[in-house]
């Protein structure tokens, strides 16, 4: 059932392409703005790049996360999904996974652009970088899917989602920026282990909360 639900989200996106295209265009536009406003000098850019990078991804993620639930309001699709014999928690995991996939795909396009435009050197340890990125994406998607479900039927939900999401993911953002900076600085894992552990705890806590309470969130 989970596979069917994720496939449905991906298929809708594959046909309409509205989420990914807006994510990538928006992300590229912010990256360009950064490049223009900070007039990159390689040294100063190295210092600020991790923070700027994660801000781009956080902004961009809001588009996907908001759309993941607002899409279901069209033709009252959500009521029909709810009437299907599927557990609500599975529905949460499907939203969680599709949000994660959209974020990863958008990053695969935006990250090279970011390194190119801001003239950053590639990090030596790419595997660590990928691991951190995937975990942080899971965290953003877990908290975001839950909040997106929460605000779905509230007025002005497109405004409320970032308002709720940004303070909620502060610990994740801090840890992501610190880990990315350490990796780009070639520091050994022991030096930034704490940040990695914080990312993992955030992912676990929000995945569990979402899994356990989505039932109450999705109920009509």
């Amino acid at each position: 059932m989970l596979a069917v639900l994720v496939r449905k989200d991906l298929l809708i996106e594959f046909r309409s392409r509205e989420i990914l295209i807006s994510m990538i265009t928006f992300g590229a536009a912010i990256t360009l703005l950064y490049a223009f406003s900070f007039r990159p000098s390689p040294e100063s850019m190295q210092t600020f790049a991790p923070g700027l990078m994660w801000m781009v991804f956080l902004f961009v993620s809001v588009l996907a996360l908001h759309r993941s639930h607002s899409l279901e309001k069209e033709f009252d699709a959500f009521s029909m999904i709810l009437s299907a014999p599927v557990e609500r928690s599975v529905l949460f995991i499907s939203k969680y996974l599709s949000g994660f996939i959209f974020l990863v795909v958008a990053q695969m396009v935006l990250l090279p652009l970011f390194f190119l435009f801001l003239q950053l050197p590639l990090p030596a340890n790419l595997a660590q970088m990928v691991a951190v990125f995937l975990l942080v994406d899971l965290g953003i998607s877990a908290a975001g899917s839950l909040l997106s479900g929460i605000v779905m039927r509230v007025r002005v939900n497109e405004m409320l989602l970032p308002l709720m999401l940004f303070p909620m993911v502060t610990p994740l953002l801090i840890s992501a920026v610190k880990s990315t900076a350490s990796i780009m600085d070639n520091q050994p894992f022991n030096q930034w282990k704490l940040w990695f552990q914080l990312i993992v705890s955030f992912v676990i806590v929000f995945s569990l909360i979402g899994y356990l309470v989505y039932d109450y969130v999705s109920e009509e």
């Binding site: 908290a143 002005v156 939900n157 709720m164 940040w195 109450y216």
Partner: protein, 226 residues
């Protein structure tokens, strides 16, 4: 339904609060010793710390009320949660106001990214979102349900926020860490009394708000009945 303020218990609580509020103020200004380093600025500690304690208590109540609401679906838990969230945020605001008033003369700058202060600020922002959800949602059961979920998620996030901010600004660990047991009796007992008065104030205001919310939902119920 009788008025909240005409209840015997409310009158007694309000009376105790009025008397002890003045007593604490007197003790703080005239009895407790003046800190040799911080002078009068240190006195705000008798209000700043209890505000922070009550803010934390308020958010803890929001979480428990949220859990109980989700289990029992009884509106009274929602009233308790909302009232506690309002008070928690009010006292959060007091912490955010009294902190910089103290920090300006002592640290030389009104704001520092000190972990506790930053955590309070983040919680404050999260709860502004909570109130927006409540205001923009309808009056129905769904809004109550999602608010309960938000209250739970927000509180469970506190330890992660605190640890991350603590290590993020490791150079901003300026916050005083007074061990209360090592303080002189005048400081210790004045502080304890202030803590007690603040807690009682919280309970009193909480009961008042819950009462108002109950009346409100009764009136709304009548409106829908007609």
């Amino acid at each position: 339904m009788e008025s909240f303020h005409s209840r015997q218990s409310s009158k007694v609580t309000a009376g105790i609060l009025a008397v002890f509020w003045v007593v604490v103020l007197y003790l703080v200004l005239n009895v407790t010793r003046i800190d040799p380093d911080q002078q009068m600025a240190q006195k705000i500690f008798y209000y700043h710390v209890p505000s922070a304690w009550v803010a934390g208590l308020g958010y803890l109540v929001v979480m428990f009320a949220g859990v109980l609401y989700l289990i029992m679906k009884d509106e009274k838990w929602d009233h308790l949660g909302l009232a506690a969230a309002e008070l928690g945020t009010l006292f959060c605001a007091l912490v955010l106001i009294t902190g910089p008033i103290w920090a300006k003369p002592i640290w030389g700058a009104p704001w520092s990214w000190e972990p506790r202060l930053t955590t309070v600020l983040i919680m404050f922002l999260i709860y502004i979102g909570y109130f927006m959800v409540r205001n923009f949602g309808d009056e129905g059961e769904r809004t109550r349900r999602i608010s309960a979920v938000l209250g739970i998620a927000a509180f469970l996030n506190v330890p992660i926020i605190y640890v991350s901010v603590k290590f993020w600004a490791a150079d901003a660990q300026l916050h005083p860490q007074p061990a209360m047991s090592q303080q002189s009796p005048d400081v210790f007992w004045t502080f304890m009394l202030s803590l007690l008065v603040f807690t009682l104030l919280f309970v009193h205001l909480l009961r008042f708000r819950v009462h108002i919310l109950k009346l409100r939902s009764k009136v709304l119920g009548m409106r829908y009945d007609v």
